[in-house]
Symmetry: C2
Subunit: 249 residues, 2 copies
């Protein structure tokens, strides 16, 4: 392992970096036990609290897990898709909210990625995926559904579409984009008429995917993207109008 001079960075950051390097580089393999905190402290010539801070950094990225007790210690964690998925969603959400990403940009990205999946999904979707999509469509049509519940169902529907491609890497990548959009989507008030339109498009998508018609799926996704953006714009302009009225009053 590398040593740490008295550079500008924290000792704990340097140590974390060194260990991360060993994991990424393959010197430390999955489920392998790291030296104990005391041994690490001895090796890096720092105190145990400093080592602990470094380990916590790695734990925050799911690179290691710790176990107490006699045979305990820190172990290299097998990074699972679900773990990475969660991190991606929160990261992507924060990125959007902190960087003033416009609805249009986020929406464009989301649908571009989704269209990338659609042909594969049309080819490989299982009855399971189709069933999920149909179920969510049904839910979306029920009266009395809150806007948030409607959006949540929307996410589930699109996730089923993406998962239909049967490519875990794609699902993982897309998950971030689709779910991170939800807070933005939640700003939209879905009228009965707009819900009806969306449900109709979703039905078309499910039909096209079931018929394994990639071109058709692509076309409807384009329509849906345009409609979603239009909807968002009308909300924005309506809100602006209201503000204006308030200002003059």
């Amino acid at each position: 392992m590398k040593i740490d001079p008295d550079s500008s960075k924290d000792l704990s950051a340097q140590i974390a970096e060194a260990i991360r390097g060993e994991i990424v580089g393959g010197q430390l393999i999955v489920d392998q036990r790291l030296p104990s905190e005391a041994e690490l402290a001895d090796h890096f010539e720092v105190s145990r609290p400093t080592v602990r801070e470094a380990l916590k950094r790695l734990a925050a990225q799911s690179l290691i897990r710790t176990q107490r007790g006699a045979t305990g210690g820190a172990f290299v964690n097998r990074l699972r898709f679900e773990d990475a998925y969660d991190q991606q969603v929160t990261t992507a959400s924060l990125l959007l909210s902190m960087n003033a990403v416009s609805f249009d940009v986020a929406c464009e990205a989301r649908y571009a990625l989704e269209r990338a999946c659609a042909p594969l999904s049309a080819e490989r979707r299982t009855p399971d995926h189709l069933a999920t999509m149909r179920a969510e469509i049904h839910r979306q049509g029920q009266p009395g559904l809150t806007d948030e519940a409607f959006c949540a169902s929307d996410v589930t529907f699109h996730r089923a579409l993406v998962d239909g491609a049967g490519n875990k890497v794609l699902s993982y990548q897309l998950a971030g984009a689709v779910e991170a959009m939800q807070p933005l989507m939640n700003m939209i008030t879905f009228t009965a008429r707009s819900r009806e339109a969306i449900v109709a498009l979703h039905t078309d998508i499910a039909d096209a995917v079931e018929a394994q018609d990639a071109a058709k799926t692509d076309e409807i996704l384009n329509t849906l993207e345009a409609y979603t953006r239009e909807l968002a714009h009308s909300v924005v302009t309506a809100r602006a109008q209201k503000d204006k009225e308030k200002a003059t009053a």
Copy 2:
């Protein structure tokens, strides 16, 4: 802020979770200063080292930054695309290496995502993007280039293509997929003939993008994907053949 009972999880994990919630939820906004470590320790009724471990967890995710000195402290960090980008690349790389993701699956995901960007890039690419692509093509044609350098140039070329779409969210998402593929790509030995073929395809792509021909770009990307997979397969079978010869010898 929420309190922490004596649950199963670490106190530092709980505290990190609580603070992360405040950031995600918007109670703590960008550049806002968190209470000092001593105050946090007081508030959560834990010791300062425990608070510090929690803060290091957040720092590892670029959610906060710390500053020493009189007016120092922990501040909510504006999560920038570059920070998130780095994290994504390492996470995606580890995902691929730790989960036995096949070359085919990763390759399919990468090109599917790239084709999602291509039409937008054909529409919006700037002279800058085109120049980068041409420069990398030139580099790839030079003799004496190592396989690794060839791969690195390949990544730069494809990043320019992706960035041409002018959508930061897309670039961010794609970066992970493209760059995480690199270790897998590095397994391939590029012969002079295969390099020639790839350079030709890259040139076709640059031409199509310059001509703003989305359909053509899509078509060539398909060809390139097929060629890349074929190349990988030949490497795998060649290696298997060698192993077999070794076994019989």
